[in-house]
Amino acid sequence: MADAKKMTKQEIRLPDGRKLIYYTFTKQEDKKTCQS
């Protein structure tokens, strides 16, 4: 099974006013590494 990862969203506006959202996924192991 593919486990869920932590999903974060970053919304920006493009120069012509359109919305763009970056969805970024972080492995739980990566998070632990960063915190340690």
Partner: protein, 335 residues
């Protein structure tokens, strides 16, 4: 120019979007608008050097919010209204090459989360009554960009095909007390000949009533109306069965099979549609490796589809295509 024009004969809205005639059409790989923007290179739609999954408003939308007023005045017969909706592009990956089939299982699982988030976000807007998540894959379907991506149309109205499904589902519930789709799943499982793949949460079948030779429906086994009520296991199982069906399609003839993939969920109009049932439809245009089924006179003119094949035989072909067993699908996909 974009507006909704009422079709008084079919009693449905037609989206008029003349600006889309000028949209980007199969640009060279170096000028793909969905690729990340590399330093010193062509500025794409995505102003970042890399990304996991990105969603943005379509540059050539069929509907937009706020919508401009219609460019023509309506009459009692010929009603017009603003095309007040949202059209988004979902770029599955920063990698230009490949297709959704090539995404690894964790990537597919991430995409399920993004779809769910977009459905929640768009469906929560008071002017949106229906959220359609879909993908057109392949030149034969008419894609204008090769980069692996899908689209989301958030409508201010319930589209006619979905309305027809809602009506039949409500009628069936009223007559039997049961969900139409749950009965279809039970019938397919009892018969078994049209099942293509199955896991704990989903079943994929070429349904009894298939209109395209290799048409596949993926049904949630539990009676969900939308993705919003899936638990973690169901989201993972959806990623899994999507990957299985996509691999089977491509392994059928060793080609990247074109298709239309459409996610059908309950409307977001604030009403209770508990008689409806989540499912995904795949409509590949191929009837053989090199021959396409055209939506021709009888289909377009009369609305009656002619399927030159038997669902039972096509399901058997897809069932035999790798990954061919449930056990092997888990082994293959989990590596």
């Amino acid at each position: 120019m974009s507006e909704l024009r009422w079709h008084p004969i079919l009693e449905e809205w037609v989206i008029t979007a003349t600006h889309r005639q000028d949209r980007t059409f199969l640009p060279p790989d170096d000028f793909c608008p969905l690729c990340p923007t590399k330093p010193g290179a062509f500025p794409t739609e995505v102003p970042a050097e890399d990304y996991d999954i990105v969603v943005f408003d379509n540059k050539f939308p069929s509907m937009k919010h706020p919508a401009p007023m219609p460019g023509i005045e309506g009459t009692n017969l010929y009603k017009v209204r603003p095309a007040d909706g949202i059209c988004e592009v979902v770029s599955y990956t920063s990698r230009h090459d490949g297709t959704l089939t090539d995404m690894d299982l964790p990537g597919m699982r991430n995409l399920v989360d993004v779809w769910t988030d977009r459905f929640k976000d768009l469906g929560g807007k008071d002017f949106i009554n229906y959220v359609l998540i879909f993908e057109n894959k392949g030149k034969d379907i008419g894609v204008t960009l090769y980069h692996p991506h899908g689209q989301i149309y958030a409508f201010p109205f319930i589209p006619p095909k979905v309305q027809k499904e809602l009506d039949s589902s409500e009628k069936h519930k009223g007559q039997t007390g049961r969900c139409l789709f749950c009965d279809i799943i039970a019938e397919e499982q009892t018969d078994g000949r049209r099942i293509v793949a199955e896991n704990d949460s989903f079943v994929a079948a070429v349904p009894f009533f298939a209109r395209y030779p290799y048409e596949v429906y993926i049904f949630s086994k539990k009676h969900h109306q939308t993705m919003l009520t899936f638990d973690d296991e169901e989201r993972a199982d959806l990623a899994n069965i999507l990957k299985v069906v996509l691999l089977k399609y491509d392994n059928l003839w060793g080609i990247s099979l074109p298709y239309m993939m459409i996610m059908h969920q309950a409307p977001t109009d604030g009403r209770d549609h508990d008689y409806y049932h989540f499912h995904i439809e795949f409509h590949p245009p191929n009837r053989t490796e090199k021959k396409l089924k055209y939506i021709a006179g009888c289909e377009t003119g009369a609305g009656s589809y002619i399927n030159d094949t038997l669902a039972e035989e096509k399901a058997a072909e897809l069932r035999a295509a790798e990954p061919s067993t449930v056990e092997s699908t888990y082994l293959v996909l989990e590596g």
